[in-house]
């Protein structure tokens, strides 16, 4: 394979993968991402190696100015995927392409530019702001580290950022405890906006907030996205939020993408039983709306040494044929309708609906 740096036609160097709609203008492209944690070590030949497969072969494209949603239950690997992209965890395998360039092969300067361009807003606004730092210093820190701005310039920028997220510049002198949850999340967003990123990773940005504040933050995020042409990578377990924010999405189970594609297509016609179960479990918006509940037996299985075949095998309510090919090897994502991919095994699809 050609070195991505060698040519200007960078996009073409990113290999295709199942589950990806051809997008001309992707900021981040992820191919066959894997994160395996080794948890068992043989000791003088006793015992076997075992792996916790947090993320196992995840591929997707994040378009410029778009939002991509990762959905799943706790332990499905959605946050680990985010951490891998933020370079907070080492990849076990796979590639991350930033504007067509493989991040692993970037020069040190390119790496710094990449890290500047990819910022994060975290779930818990109480835990993600240092209680001993003033708000102004919290927002200024990434600017001091990642940019060449002078002190007065940074001060001006902090004031502008605070205004942009709906706070007042004079509040730069206050400490985090003087703010409410919604305001803290605004501060987190201002900090992420500071270095002019192209991508912001949102890890459950509103789930710790009060209901009346959630709409404010979601609206703010959407306004900022339009204004700065930001791409969001959003992790959430709340399907309503994902439907509201994301153009495309992936449903993960045990580190594996089970269904992916256009959000509208998935919500209009969910195919995978797991997606249907998640949707039927989401809370209704009106007492008259009743979902047919789809029950999955058991709870999420441990991601330690998952089945070599379809990971959903142990959770499906349908009968599983142990001799079937997909009970032994990992089934691929199949494009069932334009821009809508799903893992197709005899026990993973809700066939009665068609």
């Amino acid at each position: 394979m050609a070195d991505p740096r060698a040519t200007f036609e960078l996009q073409s160097n990113v290999p295709a993968a199942p589950g990806i709609a051809a997008s001309a203008d992707a900021v981040i492209q992820v191919r066959h991402l894997r994160k395996w944690y080794q948890i068992g070590t043989p000791w003088f030949g006793v015992g076997a190696k075992s792996y916790l497969k947090a993320v196992d072969d995840v591929s997707f494209d994040l378009g410029r100015g778009q939002t991509f949603g990762l959905v799943g239950e706790s332990g499905c690997g959605k946050t680990t995927t985010l951490k891998l992209i933020l370079q907070l965890e080492q990849l076990s395998d796979g590639c991350i392409y930033f504007e067509g360039q493989n991040v692993a092969t970037l020069s040190p300067a390119g790496r710094r530019a990449f890290k500047r361009s990819v910022q994060a807003v975290f779930q818990d606004p109480w835990a993600s702001l240092n209680p001993r730092m003033r708000i102004g210093d919290i927002i200024a820190e990434p600017l001091e580290i990642a940019t060449t701005m002078g002190r007065s310039e940074i001060k001006r920028r902090v004031g502008n950022l605070l205004t942009e997220v709906g706070l007042h510049p004079y509040q730069a002198n206050l400490y985090p405890h003087e703010f409410s949850g919604g305001q803290r999340q605004r501060i987190g967003i201002a900090r992420a906006l500071g270095p002019n990123p192209k991508v912001i990773a949102l890890d459950e940005p509103v789930s710790a907030l009060d209901v009346s504040i959630r709409a404010q933050i979601l609206n703010l995020l959407m306004d900022l996205q339009k204004e700065h042409d930001l791409a969001y990578l959003m992790v959430s377990h709340n399907l309503a939020t994902v439907r509201h924010m994301c153009q495309s999405m992936a449903v993960m189970y045990l580190g594996v993408v089970q269904e992916t594609g256009n959000t509208q297509a998935i919500f209009d016609n969910p195919m995978h039983l797991y997606t249907k179960a998640l949707m039927s479990a989401s809370l209704p918006a009106h007492p008259d709306i009743t979902h047919d509940e789809i029950l999955l037996p058991g709870e999420v299985v441990s991601p330690i040494d998952p089945p070599s075949g379809d990971v959903f095998m142990t959770r499906t309510p349908l009968p599983v044929d142990p001799n079937h090919r997909w009970a032994r090897e990992r089934p691929p994502l199949i494009e069932k309708e334009p821009g809508h991919w799903v893992v197709d095994t005899p026990w993973s699809l809700a066939r009665a609906q068609h």
Binding site: Q183, S212, R214, A240, M279, L283, P284, A285, E299
Partner: protein, 354 residues
């Protein structure tokens, strides 16, 4: 024609025998001492609860919904907080007049509580069987084999697989969903008349949450227990509750059956809370948001606490009037204020300040 005095204050007219309330809370007031002075965390809260009914108490953090629950259980954090007035009548007895010993016999037997965080509600150094058995031992006087059988029975009732084995486990050996079921098992073990569930599913995954809510419904149908559901999520209200009380700044601002609340809410805060939640069944575009922050109890406006956030136009004189909770239609109660009820003029004749 009934008099104004009868309409104000719930329970003024006695209902028929069959739907006589089993829990009757009237003018409950709880104050907390803070460094800014004493604040009213629960301010003149009144409601009735019938047998087998589910009442949702909805509000943001600091609205007093949890303090209301703790006041009913007489578990307010003492000495900082104290119940200063009102009545909590359960089965004809005023719980606020009982001695501490009598109250201990009431808690868990007549009224029990399911707490939010199962990891904090369970003691990590005792087995599940020990903790479920404690309530049964105290209230039903069982010990030895009969106690063990009863514990296994209760665990079976909350659908814990292999209850004999699980009863010997410690809390950390169970998953979050199973732990919450154990907390539920403790709650129902003595077949109380009223269960207060304080956000029992916020720490659970969506599918586990759906299963837990269904389980609560089944237990309710079987035992006819009345449930007070404390939540900030209107999705849970839509799924679970027969009646809803919306709280703001320590007071109930609107109370009605669930369909009235969703279809014909009168208070602007209720309207906004329902409107600001993304709909899982369709994309609604930009979310309507409530501007501003929930009020701080030590800095409450003198009259209508919601006035500073209300989208309606009103005069300062109206905002300074302390509004009353009035029954505008049969069993639809609204805190009538020109600041926060758009149809105020229609009901103005019901209040003295109208």
């Amino acid at each position: 024609m009934e008099t104004r005095d009868q309409r104000i204050g719930i329970g003024a007219d006695l209902p028929a025998e069959e739907d006589r309330a089993i829990l009757h809370v009237q003018n409950l007031e709880t104050r907390i001492r803070t460094k800014w002075g004493e604040v009213k965390a629960v301010d003149c809260v009144s409601f009735d609860l019938k047998r087998g009914e589910t009442l949702g108490i909805v509000g943001e953090s600091g609205s007093g919904k949890s303090m209301t629950a703790l006041s009913i259980m007489r578990l307010v954090p003492s000495p900082a907080a104290r119940i200063v007035g009102g009545q909590v009548i359960l089965n004809g007895r005023d719980l606020l007049q009982l001695t501490e010993d009598e109250m201990t016999r009431v808690r868990g037997r007549d009224v029990s509580m399911i707490l939010q965080d199962p990891m904090q509600a369970l003691n990590p150094v005792f087995t599940i069987g020990n903790q479920v058995g404690e309530t049964i031992r105290i209230h039903q006087g069982l010990s030895g084999r009969p106690l063990w059988h009863k514990v296994v029975d209760v665990l079976k009732k909350v659908q814990i697989p292999a209850p004999e084995a699980r009863a010997k486990d410690f809390p950390h050996q169970l998953s979050g969903g199973m732990r919450q079921r154990v907390v539920g098992a403790i709650g129902i073990s003595s077949e109380p008349a009223v269960i207060i569930a304080d956000e029992p599913t916020t720490s659970l995954d969506v599918t586990i949450q759906a299963a837990y809510l269904r389980l609560l419904r089944e237990i309710q149908a079987e035992q006819g227990v009345a449930i007070i559901f404390i939540t900030h999520d209107f999705g849970i209200v839509a799924k679970m509750c027969d009646r809803v009380a919306v709280m703001y700044a320590g007071r109930i601002i609107e109370m009605a059956d669930v369909h009235t609340i969703f279809d014909r809410p009168l208070h602007e805060y209720t309207k906004a809370l329902i409107g600001s939640v993304p709909n899982p069944d369709r994309n609604v575009g930009r979310l309507p948001q409530i501007d501003g922050q929930p009020p701080l109890l030590h800095k409450l406006p003198p009259g209508d606490a919601f006035a500073p956030r209300s989208p309606l136009g009103f005069s300062e004189r109206d905002a300074a009037i302390r509004p009353e909770l009035v029954e505008v239609e049969p069993s639809h109660w609204v805190q009538l204020s020109r600041c926060s009820v758009a149809d105020f003029d229609k009901y103005a004749h019901l209040v003295a300040y109208g």
